[in-house]
Symmetry: C3
Subunit: 264 residues, 3 copies
């Protein structure tokens, strides 16, 4: 079984995603296509990169991950493919693969130049259909990456400032707001010591183990599913309550107040 995951900002209503699936099915009929998402906000490269970071490594080696968030389609940005830790990636060279490159043990990238693996006519507005889908289908069928084009030494990476530890405190930022309104930070949960608190948007919040450790509607901080501190509201939206967006500063520090819940 050859799987291809598909991540776009196309929505589905216009048939653009189905066009990509049709191209894949024509080239590699046995391919199983898993929709990752087509609901990325238009052109939100950082959000797509974050989403991809959460699933690619959970798939088995040999999976091909197709990512088409491509506001620069038709410009000089390169179409690329990457091989990383046994997974293949196809999409525009605009930073969507930042986390993959940062986290993979080994990788190599190529610019998609070999017309033999593209559609015969390439539209300047829809590389998803004419460039990326056919290349993904060929990779899923076992094509050797090197045949697609010439090596690319430095694919584009988004600048990601890591969280920093200073004395007893750590400083980071909100890096993603998810569908539930949870605010995911770049501060590793492993940095939290007993009695630590998180300061964000003028509030000081307790660290707990699970949402259910606080009352419904209350703010809290938990270790998120990728090991980072995450600000949440039980049965609610922290993004709505705190009016906070990605980039907001977050500080992890010992409690300043006397009454503080110990971290279990």
């Amino acid at each position: 079984v050859r799987r291809i995951t598909l991540l776009t900002d196309f929505g589905t209503a216009d048939g653009y995603v189905a066009a990509m699936k049709g191209v894949i099915a024509s080239i590699t009929p046995s391919a199983i296509i898993d929709d990752a998402s087509h609901a990325i906000a238009p052109g939100d490269i950082a959000a797509a990169a974050w989403a991809l970071a959460g699933y690619w490594r959970l798939y088995p080696r040999g999976t091909t991950h197709l990512v088409v968030i491509d506001p620069g389609v038709g410009s000089t940005r390169h179409p690329i493919a990457i091989s990383a830790d046994g997974h293949a990636f196809v999409g525009p060279d605009n930073g969507v693969f930042t986390h993959v490159l940062n986290e993979a043990g080994t990788w190599r990238a190529v610019v998609l130049e070999n017309a033999a693996f593209l559609r015969r006519v390439v539209s300047p507005t829809f590389h998803g259909r004419d460039v990326f889908a056919p290349v993904a289908a060929h990779l899923a069928a076992g094509l050797y990456l090197g045949r697609l084009g010439t090596p690319l030494d430095e694919p584009v990476r988004l600048p990601l400032a890591p969280a920093a530890q200073e004395d007893a405190a750590a400083r980071g930022v909100v890096v993603h707001t998810d569908t539930f309104g949870n605010l995911i930070t770049n501060i590793p949960a492993s940095w939290a010591v007993a009695d630590a608190r998180v300061q964000v948007a003028g509030r000081e919040l307790p660290l707990v183990t699970a949402y259910s450790d606080v009352e419904p509607g209350a703010l809290l901080v938990v270790e998120g599913s990728r090991g980072m501190l995450e600000v949440a509201v039980r049965d609610g939206s922290a993004a709505d309550v705190l009016k906070v967006k990605p980039g907001e500063r977050v500080v992890l520090a010992p409690a300043t107040a006397q009454a503080s819940a110990p971290r279990r």
Copy 2:
């Protein structure tokens, strides 16, 4: 072919659903994953239970149905698996399987306790990825339910008051509002006699056979696709017109006015 259906309230934009799919693909590479929905309103257990009730039995026996509407993740609610009429179910023990339990001929349930079938590290915030997805993958691969943990005698069921017949009338409620704004009730269409009318939100509405039996924009009552009476507006939304939500009382009774359309 082993199929797994997937129902969540995750949306797709954060990659959480794709993470679950990746876990499944790694454990049971040949599994076909059918997206049921990821658009359940956050934490709406009743809506998820209603949706599941409409499709699980239409799948062939041997299908595994994965349901992750899990506002209590990380609390003491049990993670469970159920075998019912040849189908397998995996999810939190919070009522999402109410209709399955109520309608199945035979069933048995277990609490997911055997760590051998979970991910090595289990996040307190994402059991979909770390508990439910791997268990579903193992069940799809043929794992015997009993190996997952100890039997659970009484999984949680939502309290569902049935409709009641009184003399010539029947009393029920709206149990679900669908995407089209149709109001699905719990009154069986088979209870309707000739000349019956439905009273809801201060209106008295005719029973017809199909939407096209009334003019565009008009209110009507039809037998819905699960055999229950359903209040609708032709080419419109009854929920918008009547401003009615689940729980609203509905009465089926003989027509009080003289002019009434006979039911065909």
Copy 3:
């Protein structure tokens, strides 16, 4: 491998789509079901027809395309199946297959009358589950089209006025607004001559090759992915900026101003 594509206006939250998938899986367990979209606006036959036109031919021959945008369910509109250029189509006879019929080399259609290939009980409100899904599953399994019912000579087609060339100008309309707010017209890009401009909503816009040929936020006209002129805003929505809907008149003409960008 037998693929079935699925296009509806059902949304996914009610389980209606999953019910159709379950019916298909029960009849043809090996079928792979590709979601095209379930986000067509309720009852928008023209939008569904447009979406379908963009993907059906990209799939391999032998694919079955299931389309359920069916505001007339339960009325006298026919349920039909069509064979066109080696692809199969199933859905209501309401115009959703307009472009397929207009563009296919050869086609034939039948009315779905043979109860042997439908579900035993057919709901008057959900032919997607009871009529169209089972027929699609049988076609995907290799059923001969003629066994489904009697021939239909003239399936319903939406009236589509083509663009017209007059002297140096061409007159057309916006036929679709996509998710990005791009306005797709019915004027072939091949009609554009050097120095041509597009007039729409009181503006005169330049033709360029790619979005990146103008500044972010600027209006432009490009050759869209199906070869038609398309009005867009770089990194924005032309539908929002111009407040234009399908049906809006569009004129392609030589530039009236002196300063005009040559088309590359």
